[in-house]
Amino acid sequence: KHRRRIQIVVISLYLAFTIFEADWNLRRDGDFYQALGVDHDADDKALKSKFRRLAAQYHPDKISSAEARENAEAYFVHLKLASDTLLSPVKRFAYDRFGPDILGWRQCSSFQDYVLRGFQLLAPYYIGG
């Protein structure tokens, strides 16, 4: 009986740890919502406005020193990618479900494309596991 309880505790601890670890990894990498500093349920208007405010601050044209400009450029490109992804309803849908990998998926333009592609990629992983 005790063995069974210990087993449950160990497994649930392990589960909690993996969930925490995955979450922590996600946080460390940062997602597009964080890049733009908005909530996951932010609407287009808030996204646009936030992007504009950040762009006005970090666009390379606004940076006077040459070294800083290169960093600013990379940062701006990331911002632009984030806002483009989140402003497109299809991409946002896919991004919310399948993560940043969707940016590399070519020939996907509709919800079905992304869902199909996502399942094709995920199915062997789960079935195999």
């Binding site: 646009k48 406005s49 504009r52 762009a55 006005a56 666009h59 390379p60 044209d61 606004k62 490109v77």
Partner: protein, 669 residues
């Protein structure tokens, strides 16, 4: 607020160049010889070089050496269809040199071959000089506008032209984008505004759609029709009249280029007139074999003739809306710029397309592009005036063309799509298409066509890959494109080091060539300056001789010394007549001599003949040394002159101080 260095905005146009500067919260247009824009003309003559209005005004007497429309040639290859077509209309000679067009002109008795870059650099340096004189300070750089259909090669050539004229380029932007910036900045809108700019050029039609909110102007999409513009309407009219003449008089006008050109000029003028009037006349005397051509044309007839052309203006408009995924009802403002935007039918056409929407017009449609450029110049140079809202303004521009690589069978695979906001960085993973391939060639192209052979090559390099069956190696290719048209491509097999290349157009001028052209540009400037000095020295001597003559004519003719001065003045006048193109030093020497003689008779009432004869001799002796002009003003020559004559002579300026010298030079350049 006074600065010691300004940044200017230059609207470098095919026909006219306009320069603006941002001063104290508003844009000022820098005048060129009293006009708001400078004709983009450069002329070469026996004595020197003329730029701008002076060059255009003498085009009739010197057509072979007056260069215009250099913007149509720049950055193109000699074999391009556009170059070949344009050459037929040019009165100057275009030759081929290393596959690129060069313009052959006669300059001071020598034949010179000039690249379009050099011609444009002359126009740019003139714009810079005008601005320096107007602002009384140096120019730190410029934002230059280019037609939005310009590709990398043409944009790079403009940069090269600026390099030659030693004018740092802060940014190149598209003309319609600049106009749009001017519009949204001067109106200070609140809330989101979608603005569509339609630029009706002479040969092309460009449309830009941008959205403005919270100080950020984001270009959404651009589209162009490269063969639709004012000249196409002219061609329609010309063809119509050629056929009409053929029908009525059985004469073929197409074999007579001169007649054809005169007909074209008349048609163009008539077209412009029809924008403000309902009806006009074309009259050309002895157009062909004593045949006088007259015709009355109405606006309705012209609109009927060009109806299909007018209609096709809507295609690019629809394309930008589609590219931006926007509905036409969400466009708040429709702006028209360019010469043909004055055609009433085009205005009603656009207005009708938007269901009778009022088009937004500018106060100065010809200056707005330069104004926008000046605003961007102020932003880029960090000019910050409290009265302005510039520091919160930001332009998000787009890449005008797709960038991509060549994949199997010469196909173009775009990596950065056109209308992507720049700066941008994008990667793709590709693989080999042969078994055991050991090297992989990355060739980058720019353009929209499906096959690379129709697009513009930007550069190529190859990287090592480890041998494997085809499709297995993973090669990551990354494109980088920044705000200043710099492009980089990096490529590497996953897990190995990268090969990187900075892309530039294959046919660019080499640094050595640019250096050589820079030196030549300085020589041109020096020659121009010397010529200006010569002309002003000649004018100074001539006016001095006349003033001396006037003074002595009113004094006692029996006085021997006065008689002598009068004779000397006559001799000098004759000499001036015979020596139209003497050196500046020769004029100066004679001027000094004449002054000495004149001064000697004012200082002494009783003259000793010897000193004066000496002076006269010195004046007439052949010249060697270059003498600086004396800096003190001339004393009143004859003491016996009556006051009335003296007052008359007063306006003639014979003072020749250093400051004055400079002024004369500036005025005549």
């Amino acid at each position: 607020m006074a600065l010691d260095s300004y940044a200017i905005g230059i609207d470098l146009g095919t026909a006219n160049t306009c320069v603006g500067v941002y001063l104290d919260g508003r844009v000022e247009i820098i005048p060129h010889e009293g006009r708001s824009s400078m004709p983009s003309y450069v002329a070469f003559t026996e004595t020197g070089r003329l730029i701008g209005a002076a060059a255009k005004s003498q085009v009739g007497i010197n057509p072979k050496n007056t260069v215009f429309d250099a913007l149509r040639l720049i950055g193109r290859r000699y074999s391009d269809a556009e170059v070949q077509a344009d050459m037929k209309h040019f009165p100057f000679q275009v030759l081929e040199k290393k596959g690129k067009p060069v313009i052959s002109v006669e300059y001071r008795g020598n034949t010179r071959h000039l690249t379009p870059e050099e011609i444009l650099s002359m126009i740019l340096s003139r714009a810079k000089k005008d601005a320096e004189i107007y602002l009384g300070s140096t120019i730190m750089g410029a934002v230059i506008t280019v037609p939005s259909y310009f590709n990398s090669s043409q944009r790079q050539a403009i940069r090269d032209a600026a390099l030659i004229s030693e004018l740092p380029v802060l940014l190149l932007i598209n003309g319609p984008t600049a106009a749009c910036s001017d519009y949204v900045i001067t109106r200070r809108f609140e809330g989101e505004r979608n603005v569509l700019v339609a630029d009706f050029g002479a040969g092309t039609f460009n449309v830009v759609l941008a959205s403005f909110e919270e100080g950020i102007l984001e270009v959404k999409s651009t589209a162009s029709d490269l063969h639709l513009g004012g000249e196409d309407y002219d061609n329609r009219m010309v063809n119509h009249f050629v056929n009409e003449i053929k029908r009525k008089t059985k004469k073929d006008l197409t074999v007579n280029r001169r007649a054809l050109r005169r007909l074209r000029t008349a048609c163009e003028a008539a077209k412009c007139e029809l924008s403000s009037r309902k009806q006009t006349q074309i009259e050309i005397d002895s157009l062909y074999d004593e045949f006088d051509f007259t015709s009355t044309i109405t606006r309705a007839w012209f609109e009927e003739l060009c109806q299909d052309l007018f209609r096709s203006h809507l295609d690019p408009v629809e394309r930008v809306l589609r590219d931006a995924k926007m509905d036409k009802s969400s466009v708040h403002h429709v702006i028209v710029i360019g010469g043909s935007s004055r055609i009433p039918k085009l205005q009603t056409l656009l207005s009708y397309y938007w269901g009778g929407k009022e088009l937004s017009k500018f106060l100065n449609p010809d200056e707005t592009v330069a104004r926008g450029a000046a605003i961007h110049a102020a932003i880029m140079s960090g000019y910050n005036s409290k009265s302005s809202n510039l520091d919160e303004f930001l332009l998000l521009d787009v890449a005008p063309f797709s960038l991509g690589i060549e994949t199997a069978a010469g196909c173009m695979t775009p990596i950065i799509k056109r209308n992507s906001t720049i700066p941008i960085r994008k990667s793709v993973v590709v693989s080999t298409y042969e078994d055991n391939q050991t090297s992989f060639l990355v060739s980058a192209f720019e353009g929209e066509r499906a096959l690379t052979k129709y697009n513009i090559p930007l550069g190529e390099f190859s990287i090592q890959v480890s041998p494997a069956p085809r499709g297995v190696p993973q090669i990551e290719i990354t494109f980088d494109c920044d705000r200043h048209d710099n492009k980089w491509v990096t490529a590497a097999e996953r897990g190995t080091e990268k090969g990187k290349i900075y892309l530039r157009y294959f046919d660019r001028l080499s640094p050595e060539e640019i250096e050589r052209m820079k030196v030549e540009a300085r020589i041109y400037d020096a020659v121009d300056k010397a010529e200006a000095e010569r002309v002003s020295a000649r004018n100074a001597l001539e006016s001095h001789v006349y003033s001396v003559k006037r003074d002595v004519s009113s004094s006692d003719p029996r006085n021997a010394s006065i008689l002598r001065v009068a004779t000397l003045a006559d001799i000098l006048l004759r000499w001036l007549d015979e020596n139209q193109s003497a050196q500046a030093s020769e004029y100066l020497l004679r001027l000094t001599g004449l002054r000495e003689v004149a001064a000697s008779i004012t200082s002494e009432s009783i003259d000793t003949d010897t000193t004066k004869v000496e002076a006269v001799e010195r004046v007439q002796m052949p010249v060697q040394p270059i003498q600086a002009p004396p800096s003190q003003p001339l004393k009143k020559p004859p003491p016996s002159a009556d006051t009335g004559a003296d007052a008359n002579s007063a306006p003639i300026n014979v003072t020749f101080s250093a400051g004055n010298w400079q002024k004369t030079f500036k005025d005549s350049t």
